[in-house]
Symmetry: C2
Subunit: 239 residues, 2 copies
């Protein structure tokens, strides 16, 4: 059930069988949600964190005029809101973008886990710091990359992150996003996203259609994005 999560952990840290068992024991419940459902509201006091087992989740914030910004996407294996363990309530909401399977880890159980396994305490801290790093990279995109670079960068990032859990390969990956979702990630309008996708497709760089990203020219894609995966900390703190 939490295989993706273990893949993600082990991409950076060795995890012993005992630790694995302890982690498995913390995820006590599985829930299923349909697409486009807000599963955590901003400000709501939380007694648990949610581990995404399958599907696509977003963190988002709204402005009064209806503007919405997605601040991070989560793929299978990610804790969407481990930071709620220390923050208690969130400054953002969490919603499904596709049908999702979600595991629940109660904070009291996490507390016991960290007390028994101090190393896991630092490891989960590490992963919230990687989330923050991803956020910084998005800040860079929104502040300094043009629309083409932002789209290209998003496709690069998701390719790597999905690859960690075995859900992408050299040719591409499935991605259950609408053009509207992409616009909300990148601080653009869906109309403009549409035009950029068209241009990337016609340039033979990348094609996004029918919920699938086909990478036609990886080198050109990464160049357009100025992509450097260092910010994903793929090698763990020792690398």
């Amino acid at each position: 059930m939490i295989e993706s999560h273990l893949l993600k952990l082990r991409a950076r840290f060795p995890i012993s069988e005992e630790e694995e068992a302890a982690i498995r024991a913390v995820v006590t419940e599985e829930r299923h949600y349909r697409a486009d459902k807000t599963i955590v509201r901003a400000g709501e006091v939380l007694g648990y964190s949610t581990l995404l087992l399958d599907g696509l989740l977003s963190r988002y914030k709204d402005l009064r005029d209806g503007g919405r910004q997605i601040t991070e996407l989560h793929v299978a294996g990610d804790f969407a809101d481990m930071h709620a363990y220390t923050l208690r309530h969130l400054d953002h909401a969490v919603m499904t973008l596709s049908p999702c399977r979600i595991g629940i880890a109660r904070h009291e159980d996490l507390r016991a886990l960290f007390a028994a396994h101090p190393r896991l305490h630092d490891i989960y801290w590490f992963f919230t710091n990687v989330d923050a790093s991803i956020d910084r990279e998005w800040t860079l995109s929104l502040g300094r990359r043009d629309a083409r670079g932002r789209v290209a960068h998003l496709f690069c990032e998701l390719g790597v992150r999905l690859g960690l859990v075995g859900m992408s390969d050299e040719t591409g990956y499935d991605l259950a996003l609408t053009q509207i979702d992409i616009a909300e990630c990148l601080g653009l309008t869906s109309v403009h996203v549409n035009r950029v996708l068209k241009e990337l497709r016609e340039s033979g760089i990348v094609e996004f259609r029918g919920g699938r990203v086909e990478i036609l020219d990886r080198r050109a894609l990464e160049a357009a994005a100025e992509f450097d995966p260092a910010y994903l900390y793929l090698t763990g703190p020792k690398g």
Copy 2:
């Protein structure tokens, strides 16, 4: 020496005298830097984290074309890179924007601190999560606020954060930023920042001149920013 930091901690959590002593013992060295000096380079392996005692620090990332994005500002009392404790090296650089006094906390000493005081382990995790929350709010600004809203929001945020350590009041605060720095925070050019500052000044909302922010009409400023300080988690996890 770390009074600002203790103010910041105690704004959210009660800290016992014993904990305070343990924290003081971890900050083993004080360094002084002039303005505009990069004190941590991206990718450099770090054995310590830096506590800003006085001055203004920025985290920033560069693109090849010379574009620079500041992803967060740090004021007195902030750990600028506590996340290096788990990440070991950073995806961004850290530079001074004004002359700075900095305290050094070695990671081995932090490790011992957290082992002896598990509560502080979670508290420092909490603060890296607040940093991430600030980053999300910046992402929202860059993605969905116009230039006027971004400038107004930055001034609101810094007013609150400096207020926590006694460095701002109702009328305003000192802020050693250039218009270029502000532009690098907000994903704008300095020319456009200049025009927006002029407009805010002439509207009687806020005046930024000579390294000082004078808040002329707080209500209008917060309205322009659509500012809600909830994302700063001022009340701690219990509030």
